[in-house]
């Protein structure tokens, strides 16, 4: 067999080198892109948690009166949470026909009634459908039982439940009575630096998010002030 002069080895080495360089560059680019996407998703999730937390808290507290705030702790906020508003159309002793608008129907197991202009609180003894029809669009006709009391037509009833919001285990959570703390946001918050603060008549929630970073101490914080309308 005659030896032939060739460049196969050199070609192979060159090809391998070029392939390695190109593959390395591609891998670096893909890894960078993947990390970028991952960071973006993480930050989007954090923004979502912050947004949900501030929306829920501001939505629940904007129309609260001072008497509705039971307690403000470093990590908790116990308040009346309003679920609907009713206006008495007619009443007999202990039974009021009400036009009602709310997030849900009143629930005798957990709701009470606040009479808006007098601030008197009554237990909600019973709720049934009403044969009367005084509701306008978007409202329901219901009958509210308030034993031993005759409510004047036109009286405004605020249906509420008592509950507490917590910043706990990296999420905003809600608990009513003896229930567990149900998460409202994803678990992305920083427990140590997230909390509530009541300064004078200004209510503030300080929400901290741990930002994905090489620096373990990096936090992205948002301090949300909730200006209550009924100061």
């Amino acid at each position: 067999m005659r030896s032939r002069p060739g460049i196969a080895l050199a070609e192979l080495i060159t090809a391998l080198m070029l392939t390695g360089i190109v593959a390395g560059a591609l891998f670096a680019m893909i890894r960078t892109q993947t990390r970028l996407v991952s960071n973006t998703i993480e930050r989007t999730g954090q923004a979502d948690a912050l947004r949900v937390a501030s929306l829920v808290i501001s939505g629940e507290t904007r129309a609260l009166a001072p008497a509705d705030i039971r307690a403000v702790g470093a990590d908790s906020l116990a308040v009346r949470i309003f679920r609907g508003t009713g206006i008495v159309c007619a009443s007999d002793s202990g039974v009021a026909h009400v036009r009602y608008r709310g997030l849900r129907q009143p629930d005798t197991d957990k709701d009470s009634v606040l009479i808006a202009d007098t601030e008197e609180v009554r237990p909600l003894d019973g709720v049934t459908g009403s044969a009367s029809s005084c509701a306008s669009a978007g409202e329901l006709d219901i009958t509210v039982h308030t034993p031993g009391e005759r409510l004047l037509p036109g009286t405004v009833l605020l249906v509420f439940e008592s509950g507490a919001y917590y910043f706990s285990t990296r999420a905003l959570r809600f608990r009513r009575g003896g229930e567990g703390r149900q998460p409202i946001t994803d678990e992305r918050l920083d427990d140590a630096t997230t909390g509530f603060l009541m300064a004078g008549d200004v209510f503030r929630a300080h929400v901290a998010l741990r930002v994905p970073s090489r620096q373990a101490a990096d936090l992205e914080t948002a301090s949300v002030v909730f200006p209550a309308l009924n100061r």
Binding site: M29, Q33, I41, T44, R83, G102, A116, G154, N230
Partner: protein
């Protein structure tokens, strides 16, 4: 080198795969960015709409005195639409108004959803007070009528929205009415056993004395001779003792019907005035004084040689003494006192809560 033959390379395939992967990653990020942008836009629109609804309600409150909401009947509803925001004003009760503002999330698209805000306002309830007036002299205590006193519960004309009855005297204790022989009583009946439900003595037209007295400058205990005052042909409403001109229809103050809250005792000696006199103490009207309108007194009432056209309503167990006085039921004088007094149209914010949660 021969390149004309078929080559089995993979570079194109790898390049396409890598490009596809990169494009997928970029598309995912773009999608996230679009979602975030639309969420931010929605939140901005919701915040703006809520602020517009609240502002529209605040504007209605600001122009409340110029609008004639005070004349709305209980249960009446009015709507006002300005700049795509609708404010509905509903008189829920005589003393309670509900204002609801509704603003579309996007003003150019009414069907884009809306944000709402609701505000409660309290107001003086003139109808509630009128329902409790069922005679020229309404009292819940011992009444003594002496001398040539005249108490007339039958109005001369019915042109105005009037009280609930036409008795000369309405009292839950008719047996406590002492009448001397020269006294003239006219009414249907002359002395009525009063069973009308009354609001607590601490409230008048649904409001406390302090709430009512907060609507306009109040008088402290004093002795006064009211007389109309005009400057440059215009009624000087801020002049002390100017309570309108009930006896001179041509006077610039003829159409001035003040609301006069008095924190303490008041003695009126002569003079003439009109309007709504609310005395949180003892009241004496004497020496030929003339008053047209409604007199509400919490303490002792003495009328000595004076005239009241309208009605007198005493709120406590303190006695009433009328000596040579004249009390005539006058629905128009009462209506002027209650509906023409501008301070009584002022809205009041409920002390604990005015903004309501909306759903």
């Amino acid at each position: 080198m021969n390149t004309a033959g078929r080559q089995n390379g993979f570079v194109i395939a790898v390049t396409l795969m890598v490009m596809l992967l990169l494009e997928l990653l970029a598309a995912g990020m773009l999608l996230l960015a679009i979602q975030e942008r639309s969420i931010a836009n929605a939140r901005r629109d919701a915040g703006n709409a809520a602020a517009r609804a609240e502002s529209a309600i605040a504007r209605q409150v600001g122009s409340w005195m110029d609008a004639d909401h005070f004349s709305m009947r209980t249960g009446a509803v009015r709507s006002d639409r300005t700049d795509s925001v609708t404010v509905t004003i509903e008189r829920l009760r005589g003393d309670l108004f509900l204002l609801t503002g509704e603003a579309p999330l996007q003003p150019s698209e009414p069907s884009s959803g809306s944000a709402r805000a609701s505000l409660l306002l309290r107001a003086f309830d003139a109808e509630l007070l009128l329902r409790q007036l069922n005679g020229a002299l309404v009292a819940s205590s011992h009444i003594q009528l002496l001398g040539s006193t005249v108490v007339d519960g039958i109005p001369e004309q019915h042109a105005c929205e009037g009280p609930a009855g036409e008795a000369a005297i309405a009292t839950p204790f008719p047996q406590d009415v002492a009448i001397s022989s020269a006294v003239e009583l006219e009414g249907r009946p002359t002395v009525l056993l009063d069973t009308v439900p009354r609001e607590p003595a601490t409230r008048t037209g649904g409001l406390t004395f302090d709430e009512l007295a907060g609507l306009t400058p109040r008088l402290q205990s004093t002795t006064i001779t009211p007389a109309p005052t005009a400057i440059d042909g215009r009624c000087a409403v801020s002049a002390f003792g100017n309570w309108g001109a009930p006896l001179d229809r041509q006077h610039p103050c003829a159409g001035y019907f003040p609301f006069i809250p008095v924190d303490g005792d008041l003695v009126i000696t002569g003079g003439a005035g009109q309007g709504f006199l609310l005395v949180n103490g003892n009241l004496t009207i004497r020496d030929g004084a003339v008053f047209h309108g409604l007199v509400v007194a919490v303490g002792t009432l003495v009328i000595d040689g004076a005239t009241v056209n309208g009605a007198i309503y005493t709120r406590s167990a303190s006695p009433v003494l009328v000596l040579d006085g004249t009390i005539r039921l006058d629905p128009c004088a009462i209506a002027n006192a209650l509906f023409a007094a501008r301070p009584l149209r002022r809205p009041l914010f409920p002390p604990a809560r005015m903004w309501l949660p909306t759903h």
